[in-house]
């Protein structure tokens, strides 16, 4: 990859709670090229959201502590920046998109107020300029009757429109990287596709890079060039989206793929992944997935498998990558 825009290495985040220390993110690393979309796939509690918030440095500390790692954005190391410099980075170089647009928009201000505030504060625009630019942004994200929407309050917007407004805010300062945290999970299925199309075309247009955090495999495959699968705070598999989809190299990814219903095949019951998501307070020794894994042997239960290259640009943290069956 030529000059990655974002490089994450060995990122570790722990939550120090009353019940004990939870390693929510345990050694996550990847590189993201210019204009690339990387999907981070995982179930609730896998650490996918926490890792993004850690990069943005917006975790509440305590209880969360970033204990190790580097996050390089161009020539900048984000984890050691002081808070004032980090504030400059947020929004203008890395922006974030949230799951529920209605909670991410301030209910007491109009859409225009919120966009204009951002532009005036960060791009030092005059009121008139900010208004024109807000209008242009709303039109760019495909909002019909943009001029009317400027004066609308968030509760007057549908979910899809509200998320488009959030997209407009996220790209307003032309960031290099967009961290999209489940951007379509709260939307209707038909609207989901529209918002994903919008994100895809923005990436193509602006060469912005995007980390797409999702639990939805179809969303990941549809938009991302590469997929990283997370389990219990680690990336267990990373590779080109198509390859991960057709020939997974980690039994957890394979399990996720098997649990998608196939419209061609009528099954009484979908094969799920046996067992339940891990309790991060009491992770098993060895591979965290071993208690649920059909391939697990004694070695899996004793040693944590290293994250190794198992093919061209394909990485897996499994002792038996070749035995994995889709």
């Amino acid at each position: 990859m030529t000059d990655p825009v974002l490089e994450v290495e060995d990122l570790q985040v722990e939550f120090r709670t009353e019940e004990g220390v939870v390693k929510a993110v345990d050694g996550v690393g990847y590189a993201l090229g210019k204009g690339e979309v990387l999907a981070v796939l995982g179930e609730s509690g896998s650490g996918k959201t926490v890792h993004a918030r850690a990069m943005m440095r917006i975790l509440d500390s305590p209880p969360a502590f970033i204990t190790n790692g580097t996050v390089r954005l161009g020539d900048m190391e984000l984890l050691t920046l002081d808070e004032d410099d980090m504030r400059e980075v947020r929004g203008s170089r890395v922006a974030m998109l949230f799951q529920d647009p209605h909670t991410a928009l301030d209910p007491v201000f109009t859409v225009g107020d919120q966009l204009m505030e951002l532009l005036r504060e960060r791009r030092k625009m005059s009121r008139g300029q900010a208004r024109e630019e807000s209008l242009a942004l709303l039109e760019r994200v495909g909002i019909p009757d943009a001029r009317d929407r400027l004066n609308a309050f968030p509760h007057q917007l549908s979910g899809g429109i509200a998320q488009r407004v959030m997209v407009a805010m996220a790209v307003a300062l032309e960031p290099e990287v967009l961290l999209a945290d489940e951007p379509t999970s709260s939307l209707d299925v038909t609207v989901q596709a529209q918002v994903l199309d919008l994100l895809g075309s923005l990436v193509a247009e602006t060469q912005m890079s995007m980390v797409l955090i999702t639990h939805n495999l179809a969303v990941a495959v549809g938009l991302a060039k590469r997929i990283a699968v997370m389990y219990a705070g680690r990336i267990v598999e990373l590779g080109p989206a198509r390859d991960v989809y057709t020939t997974p190299k980690h039994p957890y990814s394979a399990g996720l793929l098997r649990s998608i219903p196939d419209i061609q095949v009528r099954e009484e019951r979908l094969p799920g992944i046996t067992g339940s998501p891990p309790n991060l307070l009491k992770l098993p020794t060895g591979c965290a997935f071993s208690p649920r894994c059909p391939l697990a042997d004694d070695r899996c239960r004793a040693e944590v498998p290293a994250y190794v290259e198992v093919g061209t640009d394909r990485w897996s943290a499994c002792f038996h990558p070749e035995e994995v069956q889709r």
Binding site: M56, I58, R87, E88, V89, R90, G91, S92, A95, M96, F98, D100, T103, A104, L105, D106, P107, V108, F109, T110, E117, L118, E121, R122, D145, D148, R149, N151, A152, F153, H155, Q156, L157, M166, M169, L173
Partner: protein, 307 residues
């Protein structure tokens, strides 16, 4: 008729799809105003408060006489065409004296409200937003004052001062009374700072102070304003109470509390001396409470159905 039906049906559809233009053009405050305008309670409160404000600023508009003209020969006359509310035991025109009493009450109410809001907003917002040590210190300070009943504390301090003017009384009431609003602001801010839009603002690079000023306070200001209306009402009552007990304003000041204190000595034979200042007092307190309730309902933007 039948040809008209599809048209009106289509009109209905376009209305659903478009943002209602009247509401879309509304800002928060014009939205509040739109709701309050339809609220009878607001108009009653506004009328009463305007009337009392006028009495406070320009009592002569109300056909009053000279409040200091008290021919002793006219003392204790019952209400008549000459003296609408009768005369007091010194022979002053009672209507004039009661109207002039509005100024004191109004002044105390405003002093208490502004001082309380200033303290509660500054301390409460800092305590709630920054937490930890700031919260610890501010909250313990508030707890100490909270443990002293406002009236009791005020009686104590005012006795030391040997009473005082409306300003002093207002400051003393505010000093013992602010912890209530402080707690309200603090808890509102604590609840507000975990909202999604606060996190979103942080990811867009807003500083803590900006977030507090631009997001947390505007979202939390509604209960504070409502409470402020109640605070004014309460302060008016407290001043009258303190003065009635003899630790507030002293003669020759004109205050409903003083009038009630005098009336108390001549009750029940001169009951009208009790009735008129009580009536005005109740109306003023009631007006502010009514205003608070109307404001509360109008400001609750989040109660509006999501359509």
């Amino acid at each position: 008729m039948s040809s008209k039906r599809p048209t009106s049906f289509m009109e209905g559809v376009s209305e659903i799809n478009d943002t209602p233009s009247e509401a879309a053009a509304a800002t928060l405050w014009s939205d509040v105003w739109r709701k309050m305008r339809r609220d009878k309670r607001f108009w009653v409160a506004a009328a009463l408060i305007t009337m009392f404000a006028l009495m406070a600023i320009a009592p002569f508009l109300f056909f009053t006489k000279d409040p200091q003209a008290c021919p002793i020969a006219d003392f204790a006359q019952r209400p008549s065409r000459e003296h609408w509310f009768g005369t007091d035991i010194l022979g002053c025109d009672y209507y004039t004296r009661v109207v002039y009493g509005a100024r004191t009450s109004f002044k105390v109410g405003l002093v208490v409200a502004s001082v309380t809001i200033a303290i509660a907003l500054t301390l409460g917002a800092s305590a709630g937003y920054y937490g930890r040590k700031t919260d610890m210190i501010a909250s313990r300070f508030a707890d100490i004052l909270f443990s002293v009943p406002t009236l009791l504390g005020a009686i104590l301090v005012l006795t030391l001062f040997h009473g005082g003017g409306a300003l002093i009384i207002g400051l003393v009431i505010a000093f013992f009374g602010w912890p209530d609003m402080f707690r309200l602001v603090r808890s509102t801010v604590i609840g507000g700072k975990t909202r999604g839009y606060v996190r979103a603002a942080r990811t867009m690079g807003s500083s803590g102070r900006t977030i507090l000023r631009r997001h947390v306070l505007p979202n939390g200001i509604a209960p504070v304003l409502v409470f402020a209306a109640y605070v004014i009402g309460g302060a008016v009552g407290a001043e009258a109470g303190l003065t009635f007990l003899g630790v507030g304003l002293q003669l020759p000041s004109i205050s409903w509390g003083l009038q009630l204190a005098v009336a108390d000595t001549r009750f029940p034979e001169l009951a009208y001396l009790m009735i008129y200042p009580s009536l005005f007092l109740c109306l003023m307190i009631g007006a502010f409470i009514l205003l608070g309730e109307s404001l509360r309902d109008a400001l609750d933007v989040k109660l509006e159905p999501n359509d």
